[in-house]
């Protein structure tokens, strides 16, 4: 059993301690916005926030996330209002297939918390998520737009 706090709610979860956080979130809690893409922390589709930091949940055991504040894409909007990153994503029509975008948005939200006005170099260094549709040009525009919102 593990006890996880996800988007402010507490969940008792019946998994082995080495189960990746990603699969606990998706299959035990039922929040499927966080995606599986590689399972080896390469692509970033599974990015969530743990105590405000962007973390690739596919490679983190549940045991390491106990007692911490976990935020998923479902918990990013507050009180029905989209997070400024989500809003910029809508304004700039960023997603194509959209599968990687939850992870991308979570990575960007963490970046903006750390660096409210990131430079292109900051973006290049921090945002390393894979997007096979190739939305990067719109992602960069939308990051700057969100930073200036």
């Amino acid at each position: 059993m593990a006890r996880l706090t996800i988007n402010g709610q507490s969940h008792n979860i019946d998994v082995t301690p080495d189960t990746p956080l990603l699969w606990a979130i998706r299959e035990q809690v039922g929040l499927t916005g966080t995606k599986y893409g590689c399972g080896v922390a390469q692509c970033g589709s599974c990015t969530v926030h743990i105590d405000g930091q962007a973390v690739r949940s596919c490679s983190l055991p549940v045991s390491a996330a106990e007692g911490k504040q976990i935020t998923t894409i479902e918990g990013l909007a507050q009180g029905g209002t989209l997070h400024k990153v989500q809003k910029a994503w809508v304004d700039h029509d960023v997603p194509q297939c959209g599968y990687c975008q939850a992870g991308m948005i979570m990575a960007v939200a963490a970046l903006l918390k750390d660096k409210p006005k990131p430079t292109d170099a900051d973006i290049n260094k921090t945002i390393t998520n894979i997007c096979r549709c190739g939305t990067f040009q719109q992602v960069r525009e939308a990051i700057h737009a969100a930073a200036n919102a």
Binding site: E27, Q96, R132
Partner: protein, 732 residues
């Protein structure tokens, strides 16, 4: 290119005849009038493409699949344009393949590949919209007892011009649905478009930024179990044995099943439990003779084909061999292109529920009808007992259209747990091992010049794998062994016609088909053909000391649309003018999927050529008509990410008959840091030529433009790929 299997078409015809019409949708037959077909909520269909609800909501049916390319938005724009409806009231839905079969394929082709979503259906979907508009106007005119010719429709409102009376689509929809469809339907002049041709926002963004969008991976059904699968890593191999008892008592495990002759799956409460048990399951494979094959043995076989006597001709005029024999100067080069995996962000998956009376499948698919055919074949049930529900795709790129192996697997698993829905998910590793790979190809090019440095002959010999020989053998048989698709971009005519006039030309193909399963990979054969031809064009120009653009122009007088896009990028990049210090330029162009595309790249190099920075790529597209320019921009920029990732990083290596690379750590994909600035020029010429596609064409021009610039920067001509094998990487 046609992705619908002929055999499947026959199945559909039989299926449609067997089940008759109106199976899936409610029908009511008003006295004396045509049948009204109703959507599930009871709202009437005006035409098969359009349902209008009493609150004026317009539901537009889209048969093609949305996989990020924006097709549902673009197709809805075309329907809405002719319908004259309020764009803010538009929503879309997918008809199911089962419904389509039952209604004699009323929605036409579901296949969403070959950049065909819009270009192959624009006419009939626009007619669907125009027909509905005429019926709605007629219904209003009937109510008002005035001639329909005195009424107009705009923004979902019908107006009787002389009296100024108004009504809305929602109010007359019921009456309109009962009318006969008009036979003569005229389409608007695209010059008068108000919705089509504009950069309206996509219709499907909202749920993609909140995590609400349900992909195949995310599906939840009551009582559903999850499955993980391992197929024999060597294609052609089989399952010899497996020891189910070893994992039967593991947490959550429900069943260990063999899937066909080649695969084993574990069914469990959760996917993670299924995968954990599968990893612990002892499986013995009979890998067969293919286990002896490696990349080196394949390369050797293809190399032999470069000079083999026999080749299938794709494009020919004059006598190339004589021209080469009599040349004052000959230039020769050999290129090679590797296997590549689609690596969609969402790995393959499908969910199936099987009973003796019904087999249902939920699947992210590029071709609902191909999925349907796979369900029929795997379930053994007739068409009226099968159904497929399409779910949005986490990427497609050609992997999820003609190939429905995951659907077959899901049904075969579900048959072993009847009545229970089973969601089959592939791991990334399974996805990488069991792709339908971009085929391998080598190419030998020889150009002949006379004493005055005029190009007098060209021979392009392709040697490598045919996709159609594996996927559509009937077409290859019909062509007496030839695969016409191999010549995309260099063909003698058609949507992939060669963009040069060269005297004494021969382009031919020595077909060599290794056991690795080939597939349609975004752009398909234009990827390598454009590198081969457009890099060699630079080699030819440089051999005779001519400007690369001028050299091309001399061969393009009869190819005005190719020339149009090439000139556009040359002008925008500043070809012929000095580049910034250390910056070098390259060009490429091609006709693909009936669009004309060109690119010009600016790069600089560091580390003795081991690092390439791509500063900008200017891309021009002439698709004939542009339905949503903003989405075309995104397809162009996205195609460069896909194409440049392939150029720099991606190769699937064959060792012991199986693929070596199993995840993104060894099969990399470019990140935002490496993304060049892409400047897109959209220059639709209009006219009556067939429309071009935009999902794929530009993918092919980025790589040769960058390679040609790299030669300018370093004097090194790279002829085998990916560039990582030459220790060359992209840099920010």
């Amino acid at each position: 290119m046609k992705h619908i299997p002929q055999v499947d078409r026959r199945t559909f015809v039989v299926g449609a005849a067997a089940v008759g019409g109106g199976l899936a949708l409610g029908l009511d037959i008003p006295f004396g009038g045509p049948k009204v077909v109703r959507a599930q909520d009871g709202s009437p269909e005006i035409t098969a493409w359009i349902v209008i609800r009493p609150d004026d909501t317009v539901v537009i049916r889209v048969a093609r699949s949305e996989m990020g390319q924006g097709t549902i938005t673009g197709l809805a724009q075309l329907v809405a344009e002719e319908l004259e409806c309020d764009w803010s009231k538009v929503t879309t839905e997918y008809p199911t393949p089962g419904q389509s079969v039952a209604r004699k394929r009323i929605w036409g082709d579901f296949s969403t590949g070959g950049s065909r979503g819009i270009r192959m259906s624009h006419e009939y979907v626009r007619k669907g919209g125009a027909t509905a508009r005429m019926m709605l106007i007629q219904a209003a005119a009937n109510e008002w007892k005035v001639p329909a010719g005195e009424c107009t429709a705009a923004n979902s409102v019908i107006t009787h011009t002389p009296s100024g009376r108004k009504t809305t689509f929602g109010k007359v929809a019921e009456a309109a649905a009962k009318l006969e469809q008009p036979k003569e339907v005229a389409l608007k002049d695209p010059k008068t478009w108000k919705i089509a041709g504009t950069s309206v926002k996509r219709l499907d963004t909202a749920d993609k930024v909140t995590g609400k969008q349900v992909y195949g991976f995310d599906l939840k059904l009551p009582g559903m179990l999850n499955a993980a699968i391992k197929d024999c890593p060597v294609t052609g191999g089989k399952v010899k044995s497996f020891d189910a008892a070893k994992v039967a008592s593991m947490k959550g495990v429900k069943k260990v099943v063999q899937v066909g002759d080649t695969a084993v799956a574990v069914v469990a409460d959760t996917f993670w439990q299924a995968k954990t048990a599968l990893d612990a399951l002892p499986i013995v494979w009979d890998e067969g003779d293919n286990a002896k094959v490696s990349s080196a043995t394949i390369a050797k076989w293809l190399e032999e084909g470069l000079t083999a006597e026999q080749g299938f001709v794709g494009n020919q005029n004059g006598d190339a061999k004589a021209a080469l024999a009599g040349a004052a100067k000959k230039i020769e080069a050999v290129y090679a292109y590797p296997y590549q995996n689609h690596a969609c962000m969402e790995p393959m998956n499908a969910t199936a529920r099987y009973t003796a009376d019904k087999c249902e499948v939920w699947v992210p698919t590029q071709d609902g009808e191909a999925s349907f055919a796979a369900v029929l074949a795997a379930s053994g049930l007739p068409a009226d007992k099968c159904e497929v529900y399409k779910i949005n795709l986490g990427g497609g790129f050609g992997r999820r259209g003609a190939f429905q192996d995951y659907v077959t697997q899901a049904v075969l698993i579900a048959k072993q747990v009847p009545g229970t829905p089973v969601k089959l998910l592939w791991t990334r590793e399974e996805d990488m091992l069991h792709g339908r790979f971009h085929p391998v190809m080598q190419c030998k090019l020889v150009g002949a010049f006379d004493a005055s440095n005029n190009l007098t002959g060209l021979h392009m010999r392709l040697s490598g794998q045919s996709i159609l020989a594996n996927v559509r053998p009937a077409i290859v048989e019909q062509q007496k062994g030839r695969d016409p698709l191999v010549f995309q971009g260099v063909a003698d005519a058609g949507e992939h016609a060669f963009g040069y006039s060269v005297p004494n030309l021969l382009i031919d193909h020595a077909m060599r088909n290794p056991h690795i399963l080939p597939g349609f990979w975004r752009g398909v054969n234009i990827n390598q053909n454009c590198i081969f031809m457009e890099c060699f064009m630079d080699e030819l120009a440089q051999a005779v000391g001519q400007d690369e653009l001028e050299f091309r122009r001399k061969l393009m007088a009869k190819h005005p649309r190719n020339l149009g896009v090439l000139n556009a990028v040359a002008e925008r990049i500043g070809w012929g003018k000095p580049a910034p210090q250390g910056v070098h330029r390259g060009l490429a162009h091609m006709k693909a999927f009936n669009s004309y595309v060109a690119a010009a790249a600016e790069i600089s190099v560091e580390g003795g050529g081991n690092k390439i920075k791509i500063h900008r790529i200017v891309a021009a597209t002439d698709p004939g008509y542009a339905v949503n320019p903003a989405q075309i921009d995104r397809q162009v920029a996205g195609s460069f990410v896909y194409g440049l990732s392939a150029l720099f990083y991606q190769e699937c290596t064959v060792k012991d008959g199986r693929m070596v690379e199993e995840n993104f750590d060894t099969y990399d994909s470019m990140r935002i840091a490496e993304m060049p600035k892409v400047e897109s020029i959209i220059m639709p010429i209009g006219g009556s030529d067939p429309w071009g596609g935009v999902g794929e064409p530009t993918i092919c021009v980025a790589a040769p433009a960058v390679l040609n610039a790299y030669f300018k920067a370093t004097g090194k001509r790279i002829r085998s790929f990916p560039l990582k094998n030459h220790k060359i990487a992209m840099t920010a």
